[in-house]
């Protein structure tokens, strides 16, 4: 039925989203899907089985009408066929009364497909509603059983539908956030280098947003490097940190204090005028910080502390640009 690659990613997704048996049961409780509902839904079984192709078509016709959105889904023949097949299976499964992990797996497979095709959740909701409306109309139009019973059966089916919507929307959102999670991870890994720029002098450029997790990584990384490089002075450049609030300032202070415990002096550079003013306005006590205006100044101060003295040679290998 499902190809192995797809079913692998479905199983991975089930784990990542925490869709345990208990979670599935909870989702059922949320939509109040109970035993009497299953019996009522069973009375719709024949109707759905008999018209399954028409109902499937309702869903995809509605998508086709919204020309701008689902092009990716309908544009590719293979994807569209697969989506149609899964939707058809889904409808048949909806009336079958089994909503366990197998059913959830199938929902996720379809959800993943939508997500791959870039289907907007709102568009999905619209099309799914059209489908349900069609099922409802058909159910009420029957002569037997009486309309009231049909209506109750349809409302029970609707609970399953909402159970499904919950899953599909969760998948769509989860997959969309996956990109964000990956990017955050990438930013974290990229942006905490500790560079040795002179004997016993480290440079720690910080770029981007500092949250608690990242502050911890930065500090641990720095402390390890202080030990490994036997560093005495660290220049921490925060030019790339757009905003520093009390939390971030606190992280910086902690890093500085920890470095001091290991015998290293930290010089903070690159506090912009805006940042400095907002820190003062917030009343954050940074008196313990050793600050120098810019990176160049910080490096010079660090070299002074370490006893280096820079001097220009008489014969530079590269002549300085002429100032006009």
């Amino acid at each position: 039925m499902a190809d192995p690659v797809q079913s692998d990613s479905v199983h991975a997704l089930i784990k990542e989203m925490g869709l345990t048996e208990a979670n599935i049961e909870r989702r059922k409780r949320i939509v109040a899907l109970e035993a009497p509902d299953l019996k009522r839904i069973a009375t719709l079984g024949d109707l759905i089985a008999g018209n399954v192709d028409e109902f499937t078509a309702t869903f995809f016709d509605h998508l086709a009408k919204l020309e701008e959105e689902p092009r990716a889904l309908l544009g590719s023949r293979a994807l569209a066929d697969k989506a149609r097949r899964l939707k058809r299976d889904h409808l048949l499964a909806m009336a079958r009364g089994e909503y366990g992990s197998k059913y959830v797996e199938q929902r996720l497979e379809l959800g993943l497909l939508y997500s791959k095709a870039g289907l907007d959740p709102r568009v999905f909701l619209g099309a799914f509603h059209q489908l349900l409306k069609n099922v409802g109309n058909r159910a009420m139009a029957r002569s037997q059983p009486p309309p009231l019973e049909s209506f109750e059966a349809f409302m029970s089916l609707k609970k399953v539908a909402f159970f499904d919507i919950g899953l599909i929307v969760d998948v769509l959102v989860f997959e969309r956030e996956r990109v964000i999670r990956q990017q955050q991870e990438a930013i974290r890994e990229l942006s905490t280098p500790v560079l040795q720029i002179r004997e016993r002098l480290l440079l720690l450029p910080i770029i981007g947003v500092i949250d608690t997790h990242r502050a911890r990584l930065i500090t641990e990384n720095l402390l390890r490097c202080i030990r490994d490089n036997r560093a005495k002075v660290v220049v921490m450049d925060v030019t790339g940190v757009a905003t520093i609030d009390s939390k971030v300032a606190n992280h910086l202070l902690q890093t500085v204090a920890a470095a001091r415990l290991m015998g290293a002096v930290v010089i903070v550079t690159g506090l912009s005028s805006d940042v400095a003013q907002s820190l003062v306005a917030l009343g954050i006590e940074l008196g313990k910080l050793n600050t120098v205006g810019d990176l160049q100044g910080g490096l010079e101060e660090a070299e002074r502390l370490l006893g280096f003295r820079m001097a220009a040679t008489d014969a530079p290998a590269m002549s300085a640009p002429k100032e006009n």
């Binding site: 911890r216 500090t219 641990e220 402390l223 390890r224 202080i226 030990r227 036997r230 560093a231 005495k232 902690q254 890093t255 204090a257 920890a258 470095a259 001091r260 415990l261 290991m262 015998g263 290293a264 002096v265 313990k288 050793n290 502390l305």
Partner: protein, 124 residues
């Protein structure tokens, strides 16, 4: 267990080799304070390289040692605080604000020499 206290010129070196009980710490404090006076030391290095935890009592005692030694005429430097220990201490708010720290024994001794010579100006 007892902490070996070595004399090296004008300096004393106390190298803590294993986790100390509170009692051991108090004993170390008394012993160091006594020897600083007896040997007329100018500096004291406490090496904690082997420790993987420094709790609040240990921190307070070590600070106490430093203040006592200062009153008896010797400067104190703590050396060898490990990265994990440093991080944990900072999180607990134990920052040894009034005690000098250095990376290792070599650095500690160099720092002491500078302090004693009076030529070292604290960076902050």
């Amino acid at each position: 267990m007892a902490v070996p206290i070595l004399k090296q010129g004008d300096f004393l070196i106390a190298s803590i080799q294993a986790a100390l009980s509170d009692h051991d710490l108090v004993q170390l404090r008394d012993e160091l304070s006594e020897r600083v006076g007896r040997w007329r030391c100018r500096g004291l290095v406490i090496d904690v390289t082997a420790l993987d935890v420094l709790d609040s009592f240990a921190t307070r005692t070590v600070r106490g040692i430093a203040q006592t030694a200062k009153l008896r005429g010797a400067e104190t430097v703590i050396v060898g605080i490990q990265p994990d220990v440093a991080f944990t201490m900072v999180q607990l708010g134990l920052t040894f604000d009034d005690v000098e720290t250095a990376l290792d024994l070599e650095e500690g001794l160099a720092l002491l020499r500078r302090i004693v010579r009076g030529s070292f100006r604290r960076a902050h």
